[in-house]
């Protein structure tokens, strides 16, 4: 297991570098920040001074080298907007997003396992067809529209829920529901498919031949075998939550990392954007490793392969 973790961590380094490199150069291409942060009447001297102060006059390669050296010392530079350390700004925004995503994934996984298993137990039954249709619809609803409809119905018309903010449980309902809908729809379908094939496996017949109850057959024998494909997809969906977070946090004014990233792109706040992307990428790689660990815990064959 330790070997596997070490190998995974090492193999994540290169992709991580590629991500940093990509964001660094792309961000530099989005236009001169001097246009945004200096008055229109700024003289060329002022511009040169601004560039020199922020290191923009160096060749790109040098800038990147300096940046890497700083990052190695956990120094992410300063925000152009607020002059705060970029690392701090990102870390402040991060917990809000993490909580939102955590609740969402928890609800999505629990709900999908229950509904997916029910649907798979009798393929093509009414339950199965209703679950299939609702889940495929859920997976196709645009989240921004779902959020706006939620606001229209529950905040504007009924007045039950607030339209923004993070205080109180009520404020969590719409953001979590919006973020939840797509992963939930996809997961139900994946769990169903995996359970259908697990339930038709010979070892399920053997369990029945031993006289095991149906509950034991479904939850004791089939579910753990069906978990692997569901887990892989859940990992991908968790990565996709960052997409959703950008939209949801923008609509509901959620002070998370998605909103921070959009704002820093719009305002060419390189340091913050880079720090945010780096952190996101780190979290995503950590998440992938976590998924692998879960695979290994669930399936002894993966464990053996990992140990080799």
């Amino acid at each position: 297991m330790v070997t596997m973790l070490r190998r995974r961590a090492v193999s994540s380094v290169i992709p991580l570098l590629v991500v940093v490199l990509g964001v660094f150069f792309l961000a530099r291409l989005t236009g001169d920040p001097a246009n945004l942060y200096l008055p229109l009447s700024a003289t060329p001297e002022m511009r040169a001074e601004f560039a020199a102060r922020n290191g923009f006059d160096q060749p790109l390669i040098t800038q990147f080298g300096d940046y890497l050296a700083q990052v190695a010392h956990l120094d992410f530079g300063e925000s152009l907007r607020t002059a705060q350390p970029a690392g701090e700004a990102v870390l402040r925004a991060f917990p809000a997003t993490l909580q939102l995503a955590g609740w969402t994934m928890l609800l999505a996984i629990v709900g999908a396992v229950v509904i997916g298993s029910l649907a798979a137990y009798r393929p093509n039954s009414v339950t199965d067809r209703v679950a299939s249709f609702l889940s495929s619809t859920a997976a196709s609803v645009p989240d921004f529209w779902f959020a706006i409809m939620g606001v229209l119905v529950f905040a504007v018309t009924l007045g039950w829920l607030p339209t923004s903010g993070t205080s109180g449980a009520a404020a969590w309902v719409l953001p979590v529901a919006t973020l939840l809908i797509r992963p939930f729809g996809v997961l139900v379908q994946v769990v169903r498919g995996a359970m259908v094939s697990a339930l038709s496996a010979p070892y399920v017949k053997v369990a029945r031949a031993k006289g095991a109850r149906e509950s034991r057959v479904v939850f004791g024998h089939a579910l753990r075998n069906a978990a692997a494909p569901a887990l892989t997809v859940a990992g991908d969906l968790a990565v996709g939550l960052v997409n959703g977070a950008v939209v949801v946090e923008t609509i509901f004014g959620w002070p998370g990392i998605g909103k921070l990233m959009i704002d820093s792109v719009l305002q060419r706040d390189f340091a913050v954007l880079q720090a945010a992307v780096l952190l996101t990428a780190l979290v995503i790689f950590a998440l992938n490793i976590l998924v692998d660990v879960c695979h290994a815990l669930l399936d002894p064959r993966v464990r053996q392969r990992a140990a080799a």
Binding site: I14, P15, G31, S132, V141, D143, Y203, G211, V265, Q304
Partner: protein
């Protein structure tokens, strides 16, 4: 027959059958028509501001059809804007999907076909692209190139390439190990030629399904981007942009945001439904499953009729087919004439005292439900076995021997159904029992050993846990006590270091050891009857000998009745006391092994025995049975074997022979059984 051709030309018909998929296809066609003809229809209605008519309410035709869904604050009709936006959406989504489909699938097939470093590098690249949230990537890139439709297409195409790459890679890597690719290599066909001829046509249907789902994703991302203000820019219209605009006026004019959202939902749901349908209809296994649903209600109808002629003797059923032509082969065979069990059942023939049989199967019939109607796969099977005895159920693949065992054990697939007959375990018909009573019997009464031990053992549970299960279920033992019994059992079946290996998983054992574990699990509760379904077919001969010896020991030790299901005549000769030879879903001959093999009373048995190479002179031609076993869907009328039989006469086509006594303890289902016996 000819299913392949049919399915190729019938897909529009198939589409019509599925109302959901048909509706979805209609929606997509409508969207496409709007996109193409929209500009002609609406002219500049969508963009022309009309400040005299701001914020009209929807559902009124007073101002012309364009205003049926209301108008926005600039007086532009929502309906016209929806139509114009359909064009924008498709002009982004379709090129993006096509680009990533083309690049990703060619790349993936190349990587998957060749494997090695090409495969790992490609997968790494895909990982990097996918590890970056695509929406964020799009946001950053669109800021570089300034938001435009072309920019969105390029970004989304690049971001989605890995999806196709991964799918195409996985599928072609699986194909790479297939023999027909190897075969092509032996002709000297390699690289792109092989990909074009073999890989691409096989992988393409899956990729198109992925593309349909991806179409939804691209559409949603485009509208999200437009909603965030970095996608399609005004004055162009897009559904996402319309929602963003409507959000500002949510309280005063709800309709501006609602309708474009609905348009997105309906379009994406349609694409998803159509993709799901396409996946079902290109996967033969799934199609079969799918067909069950509609077949289900229709198929139950013949059941009562069949039940009438089922178990009991039925004199009329015998003569019924007479006079009907051989064209009957097209339709499912006529209702069975189940052998009048009381007269000729081997149970009776073998043991005059009724009740001496531990298991007596009588007239068992099993149908498989298919979209084309029920297919009888077991057509009146009767046999009996006493405790301490080994009965071999001998037959070639597809003769229904496994299905018989599964039916008796109550483990049929949902598609298969027992439609007649009895299976009496110590006089009690297990087929008539409810689920709870059957569960009580599963283990101590009837037990089964499967052919492939690797798939029959649960891969994620330790063997100790699995072996302890019978004790926990039936004897209510504690975890610890059950485990102790499991270890005892492992020792009994000859697994070395049992106590330490109880914590190991199935994949850590060799094939022979796994089969021992499976046998241990089956005999844990000393069953009265053990059904062994090809228990050694997956094993090497030297290991097979060990396993057969173990089964024989356990049988005499526990006084079990052993039903050995196999296709191997040598195995039957060496290990069975009695044999029931099966052909086309029914028992054609039964009796003690020495007698049946020494002097077969059915031409099929005789043909089988003559086909064994070892029994003939080296290099000489083997005597063989012409033709091949019939498909269960088109079993010949009368005697099922007559089309391959050297002795077939007219009577064989008209009358189905029943199992009739041909000597002491022997029976054969042949019109000339007696003659063969006396010859």
């Amino acid at each position: 027959m000819a299913q392949k051709d049919m399915s190729r030309f019938r897909w529009p018909a198939l589409l019509l059958q599925d109302r959901f998929a048909f509706a979805a296809a209609l929606v997509l066609v409508a969207v496409a028509v709007c996109a193409v003809l929209g500009p002609l229809l609406i002219g500049d209605l969508a963009t022309r501001q009309n400040l005299r008519d701001p914020g009209r309410e929807p559902f009124s035709l007073d101002h012309g059809w364009a205003f049926v869904l209301g108008s926005d604050s600039l007086g532009r009709p929502v309906a016209a804007r929806l139509i114009a936006a359909a064009g924008t959406t498709l002009s982004v989504a379709v090129p993006a999907v096509l680009c990533s489909l083309a690049v990703g699938s060619v790349w993936g097939m190349w990587a998957g076909y060749h494997g090695g470093w090409r495969e790992s590098v490609s997968l790494r690249v895909a990982d990097v692209i996918l590890s970056f949230p695509s929406l964020l990537l799009a946001v950053v890139v669109l800021y570089v190139f300034s938001p435009s439709a072309v920019g969105i297409v390029v970004v989304l195409a690049v971001a989605r390439i890995p999806v196709y790459l991964r799918t195409a890679r996985a599928e072609s890597a699986e194909l790479r190990s297939r023999l027909f690719i190897d075969a092509a290599r032996t002709f000297g066909t390699t690289g792109w030629a092989s990909i074009r001829r073999h890989v691409a046509p096989t992988v393409l249907p899956t990729l198109l399904t992925v593309a349909a789902l991806d179409f939804c994703f691209v559409m949603l991302t485009e509208s999200s981007l437009s909603f965030l203000g970095i996608g399609i820019q005004p004055p162009d219209v897009s559904w996402g942009l319309m929602v963003a605009q409507g959000r500002q006026e949510l309280q005063s004019a709800w309709w501006i945001a609602v309708f474009p959202g609905l348009a997105i939902v309906i379009t994406t749901v349609s694409a998803t439904v159509l993709a799901a349908w396409a996946r079902l209809s290109t996967d033969p296994g799934q199609r079969w499953r799918h067909g069950l649903r509609r077949g289900g209600s229709r198929l139950r109808r013949p059941r009562p009729a069949r039940g009438d002629v089922g178990p009991g003797p039925s004199p009329t059923a015998e003569s019924a087919p007479t006079g009907e032509g051989p064209d009957l082969t097209e339709t499912p065979p006529p209702p069975l004439a189940v052998s009048p069990a009381h007269a000729v059942s081997p149970a009776q023939a073998g043991a005059p005292v009724a009740g001496a049989d531990t298991l007596a199967v009588d007239g068992l019939a099993v149908d498989i439900r298919t979209p084309a109607g029920p297919v009888p796969v077991v057509r009146g099977v009767s046999f009996a076995v006493r405790s301490g005895e080994t009965l071999a159920l001998l037959g070639e693949s597809g003769c229904g021997k496994s299905m018989t065992a599964h039916a008796v054990a109550g483990l049929l697939d949902p598609a298969a159904e027992v439609v007649g007959g009895q299976a009496r375990l110590d006089g009690e018909d297990v087929l008539a029992l409810g689920p709870r009573a059957r569960r009580r019997l599963a283990g101590p009464g009837l037990s089964i050993v499967f052919q492939d031990a690797l798939s029959a053992l649960n891969p994620v549970l330790t063997v100790g846990t699995q072996l302890a299960e019978p004790f926990r279920i039936h004897e209510g033992l504690s975890r610890r006590a059950a485990r102790a019994r499991a270890i005892e059992l492992m020792e009994r079946v000859g697994i070395p270091e049992a106590s330490s290996r109880a914590g190991a998983y199935p994949h850590q054992f060799s094939g022979g050891m796994r089969q021992r574990l499976l046998i241990a699990m089956a005999v844990a509760l000393r069953p009265k009857v053990l059904l062994a379904d090809e228990p050694t077919t997956a094993l090497d001969v030297t290991v097979q000998a060990q396993i057969m010896d173990l089964l024989a020991e356990l049988r005499s030790e526990q006084r079990m009745a052993l039903v050995l299901i196999t296709h191997d005549l040598g195995l039957v000769a060496e290990h069975a006391d009695r044999v029931a030879v099966m052909y086309a879903g029914t028992v054609v001959e039964t009796g003690p092994v020495t007698e049946v093999f020494g002097r077969p009373n059915h031409p099929y048995t005789r043909g089988l025995l003559e086909s064994v190479p070892a029994e003939q002179h080296k290099g000489s031609r083997l005597d063989s049975i012409p033709g091949s076993p019939p498909d269960p869907r088109s079993v010949p009328t009368g005697c099922a074997f007559r089309t391959r039989c050297p002795m077939a006469r007219e009577v064989c086509a008209g009358h189905r022979p029943t199992l009739a006594g041909t000597g002491a303890d022997r029976a054969a289902a042949c019109h000339f059984g007696k003659e063969l016996a006396d010859a």
